[in-house]
Structures are given as C-alpha cells and as structure tokens.
Symmetry: C2
Subunit: 222 residues, 2 copies
C-alpha cells in the first residue's frame, strides 16, 4: 500500500533537507517491529518510514494504545510519573529522526507544520476521549474503529481499510474492554456489515470516509 | 481562591496588550455559568477569566467532559461530524477572547506560548486516554481525579483541592460509568482516604502534588 501526500515541491524539498540533516547529525534510526523507541523529553520525533504506535502504560503495567503516528508526522513524549507514555514501532521497518525545537527553526515552514499537526492531534484526541466516555463497549468500539479508520484508512472498494493490524487485546486495552469482549463485539459488527475483516486481518469499513488532515510533507512508501 | 502565575513583567505586559486589542476589536465576551460558548473553526480562544469546560458530544447526544481550560490558556474547536466538540462556561463569570492565528502573530512570544500550551494539552490528553483504557471503573475514577487535581488543584493543607465542582453524572460521563456507580465509588475512595469532599462539594486530595505546567501569562483572580 502507498500514500502520496505532497503539498508542494518546496515542502518536499524541505523534507529532504531535514532527512539529510538528521542523517548527517546521526539523528535518525531504523527499528524492527514492536520495539520501544528510546525517547527523551524535550525532543521532537518525526516518522520517516513505517508507523509508530503510542501507548500509555497504566499503574498496573498494561499498555493502552493511544494512537498511530505515520510517515511525515511528529510525536513527542514527556515522561510522567503515574502514566508512562511510550512509542513503539508498529511496522516491520520503522525509521524516526529527532530534533530539538531550535534545530527545527532552520526550516520555518516545517516548524510551523509540526506545531499545526500537534494541534490537529489534540483535536483528534478530544474526540477519542469523547468516544471513551460512552458506557457501552459496543459504542466505544464503533467509535474507536471509526476514528482510527477515517484518519488512517486507505481507499478500498467503497470504503477504507486500516493498513495495520491491532490485536483484539490491543483494541480491548484502548477501549477499556477485555480481549474476549472485543472478539465477540467484532463478530457482532461484522454480521451487521459495519466492518469486515480482510485476508491479513485488516479491518475494512465500507462507507467510511477519509477525513481531511494537514498533509504530510513526506513521501510515504510502505 | 486565587492563583498568580506571571512568568515575567514582559509577558504580563503582552497579556494586557492582547486583552486591550481584543476589547478594541470586539473580540471578547463574558458569559454566565453553564452556557455554550459559540465557537468557529479556525479561531483560537483564550480564557480571560473563569473557566471553560470542554465537552465532546456523542452520537446519542451525551456530553462527555474532556477537560478544563483556565484563565490565560487557549482552546480551539474544529467541528467534526460524528462527535461534536463544545466549549461551555463552568464558572459564574467566564470571559473569553478570540483571535485568528495571524492576529496572534503580533505578539510572537504569546503566539509561541499558545502553541506550546496546545502541545502540553496533547500530552495530558494522551495520559487521559491511557487512564480510560483501564477496565475497572474504580481505576479510571482514581486516575481521572488524579490527572484533574494534579493539573488544576489549588494548595489546601497537605494536598490539593479542585476549585470547581463536577457532578457525579459529569464524572460518570467522563469515565464511561453511570452516576450511581460514581457515587458509590466516590464513597469507597472517601472511606479509604484517597479523596475527601469539602463543604461546597469540592474534592480535596490529600498528598496530591501539583504538576509543572507552562505558566499562564494572565493574572488570574477568581
């Protein structure tokens, strides 16, 4: 699967400069799937390739999925005492680069873009929180899948397909339900045609519509 | 109760200029308690006085509390189809002013501060999401109260007190539980000394510790 999201040649040029700068300054690294990316507060990370899964670790050491960060988009993690935020790779080959904020100021257009994207991410997370306030697990599951797929889905027939797989346990942890409940409710949603499961366990939501998002400056090939 | 949070005389001066500019351009308004503040996507709002309650409306028209915005801090709301974000006043006299992003560029220091605060808000919301992934309502309630009080609490004896009241129904909607469950669990937490209820229904958490936050540029008196 591939997405191409280039807003302008100038932005693509800035992105290439950024990647080159990171390479020259040893500020990038490629990881295999499902490893924790070492992060430091005060640094901003950009995904070059692959996809990052953000998780929040609860006091009883469960990892709650709180979102994906895809190629060209930023994340940052300020450590906290009670709940620890972590970034894990979610694709076989995931590359990230990192910057201090003052480094990014060399590319004012991109610096602005990163700030805008964090504002966008905040708006999305407010919606996620609204979704999780719903009492019935089936409603939280429907909302969760919709929010995720309308943001990250790729066109497939008359709907959108999520290009990565989350386990039922991961979905359960994200919506405050057990793995068993998620399996049962997904069966229910499949029989109602709300969602379908493709050959590699990918979720396809017929009729889902992609939301508008500030475009990534990166070429994305996965 | 009152907070004074001024990082420097220069910032306080910028804040006064901002308030004056908003006043001269009819970009500010004062509201009574519990009304919806009319908002438009693309505008950034700053709370001058009082406190704003952000809520996310679910498809079945329930209002899920997703956070407070206090004096000197920003919020923005981009309308969405499925979940509608709204801002409501939560104090008797709540004043907000609003700006286009390009307006704010007249005050570069403040413009930067607003961006930083949105990044801070995103980090907090990721923690909220982690909290809501917990399966037991008692754990979600404890996490919710901790996150809220360590952010907004004011010093009281050896702990922090939340200066505003949320109803048990509002707390329930925020953590995916019923009002009845919240009442019962709060009783449980009170008997264990985790939280106490003061005369005007304010929640006091002994031993809670205030978290560091980018300071507001505003004088806050409430």
């Amino acid at each position: 699967m591939s997405i191409t999201a280039i807003t302008s040649a100038a932005e693509a040029q800035e992105w290439r400069e950024l990647c080159q700068w990171a390479d020259e300054h040893y500020r990038c690294r490629t990881f295999p799937k499902d490893v924790r990316i070492p992060t430091r507060p005060g640094l901003v990370y950009l995904v070059q390739e692959g996809v990052v899964r953000l998780v929040s670790q609860t006091p009883e050491r469960r990892e709650v999925f709180v979102g994906f960060i895809t190629s060209g988009y930023p994340f940052e993690l300020s450590t906290q005492e009670r709940f620890d935020l972590k970034a894990c790779t979610h694709a076989e080959r995931t590359a990230v680069m990192w910057f201090y904020w003052q480094d990014l100021e060399q590319w004012p257009r991109f610096h602005q873009k990163v700030q805008e994207d964090f504002r966008y991410q905040l708006q999305r997370k407010l919606l996620w929180l609204g979704n999780l306030g719903q009492r019935r697990a089936i409603d939280r599951l429907k909302g969760f899948l919709t929010l995720l797929i309308e943001e990250h889905g790729e066109a497939y027939e008359d709907g959108l397909v999520l290009p990565w797989v989350l386990t039922h346990a991961q979905i359960g942890d994200a919506i405050g339900a057990t793995r068993v409940t998620v399996t049962r409710l997904l069966g229910n949603l499949r029989s109602r045609g709300f969602v379908q499961v493709l050959e590699q366990n990918q979720l396809w939501m017929p009729n889902a519509v992609k939301i508008k998002r500030p475009p990534s400056a990166a070429y994305t090939t996965a």
